[in-house]
Symmetry: D3
Subunit: 126 residues, 6 copies
């Protein structure tokens, strides 16, 4: 992991932008590891910054969607970091519980639909 | 698929509840196929009805989370049906585009975190 | 797809063994496509023949496990072919319904366990 | 995690039913964590109790299918808990080895079928 | 889908860059659909252009890795488009067959490693 | 885990072949665990030996494809072991970074293609 003090000016500028955007004073491990590849670090951060900015969907909804995907993929790191991110954005215990309930149910019915080979209704066709 | 007219009284009662709860006058194929197993039909509908009811998370957010999971799992039927469900609950074109952007990015960084074997930050540990 | 009549002697011998082992008089598309790579055709068939032979687990149980995996992965071809395979091995409508119920539930609780970051009980550690 | 002594009467009743149904004297972590959301705890337990009860498929077969899905999804907690569950239901070392062999092979051929874009045989169409 | 003639100047400029970079005279459906969200269209194309450019890994290797991921995820569209992309970059029938063999085997042993709960060797720890 | 000294002659012969083929003097945990099922040990090793041998694709490319699949599936053991394997076969830091970039991007666009329900272009149809 590349710590702030050991980082190049290029990487440090990205770290600064991450902390300023997120209003925090530390960098989590994901970025410190990605910093070994400054091109991917820059592209990934720039993309996330653009995607997660408040717009038609509010930041809390976006963080919960991020967490829903991470739980579906069972990515341990991402579940931990985006649970923290969603909590910071305002997710309550009750919201978290409901989010998990929806994620669980969706994963169940996804397989029922596939396993039963259900055909798409004409009304659902775009 | 078991159509309404051919359904048993038990299945018909569930169909009626689905239509009443969703304020629609038709049943989509998923339920008509599940109806071959009335036990699973009843349990799945009862669970979904409980999970998707408005509560700490509003119905639109829940439908978008359902769609995020379905897109991650690449379940064709579920993507089609929950895109329709989310639109009915108020999802605009712009919201859909942002939802997909978050889903795509989360799927990307889930693999970067795993592939780079990033360790969970102490601050993220529960 | 490489049909029997157009197949090389090497491929034809494998086709013959597939039909003899499965007591059928036709070859399904999976093998006809794999036949473009005789090395993979031979290795895959030899492996499947060894794995699916009756032993500590009976053929029906094995086919249902195969179908459970295919439904979880949402592989359309594999769901179709192994549903047929399991039916041929004796899977009734009721068994199929119960199989799908277990597959659906497992996919749900897999995500609840991960999303809630549940730690493994000491009693479960090997 | 919510221990038995700290649980509400509602949660305690579910814990009692879990122990009685499974003929054990302890509760595994999954339920203790889910207990933070009594609604999901109740719904999940009620569903699992219904699904896993002996019926057309015996309990051992159901536990092995649960394990097959968990291994396919690579859910660490679920693999550990359902390996224990299947062993308790009678899975021998030999059965476990064969189960894993089928799970591995199914995951392999699922990708061969998709990667080679194999079309579903007419005979497999429902 | 947004065709070239109906596209805004912004989208058309991206279409032009895609065709110039790929030395083709047509745009595939993926981009025409993404064009409904010019922000995602631009970000996705810019990222792919950067990632897929020749560098330490040659374009053929990159296309084959893209196809390996798509086959693992069983994304029908992506398998079709990246099979075409890899062929254009020089993938022979023999290379494709070997690629699929590795993808299949990796998907198998991924589950054997997880299902058997294999611990990471100290020598593999970073 | 079954160590060399405790292994049967049959297992020991496979261990010897693994070490000779890979030009190493140790056996990693995966094989020591699989050794509990000599049939699966033999079949898996024979298959991997055949698949990973140099041919139309060089060993480095094959190891990187193996790693791409393992990162996509988020198999911790497999990521660790095949990162080591790819490094031994010549993967540089730069190559690893590019590999991860492609894997991440492919996982992203796989979901964009599915979520947007993009139809396969006629030109991509085989």
């Amino acid at each position: 992991m590349i710590e702030y003090d050991a980082a190049s000016a290029e990487v440090r500028a990205i770290y600064d932008d991450i902390m300023a955007t997120r209003k925090t004073d530390w960098i989590n491990n994901f970025w410190k590891v990605l910093a070994h590849d400054p091109v991917t670090l820059r592209r990934t951060w720039t993309s996330i910054k653009e995607i997660m900015a408040p717009s038609a969907l509010d930041p809390l909804t976006k963080e919960m969607i991020y967490l829903a995907v991470s739980a579906t993929n069972q990515c341990g790191y991402c579940i931990a970091s985006h649970t923290a991110g969603a909590r910071k954005a305002g997710m309550t215990d009750e919201m978290f519980a409901e989010l998990m309930a929806v994620v669980g149910m969706a994963n169940e019915t996804n397989r029922l639909a596939s396993g039963y080979q259900v055909e798409i209704d004409d009304k659902f066709k775009t």
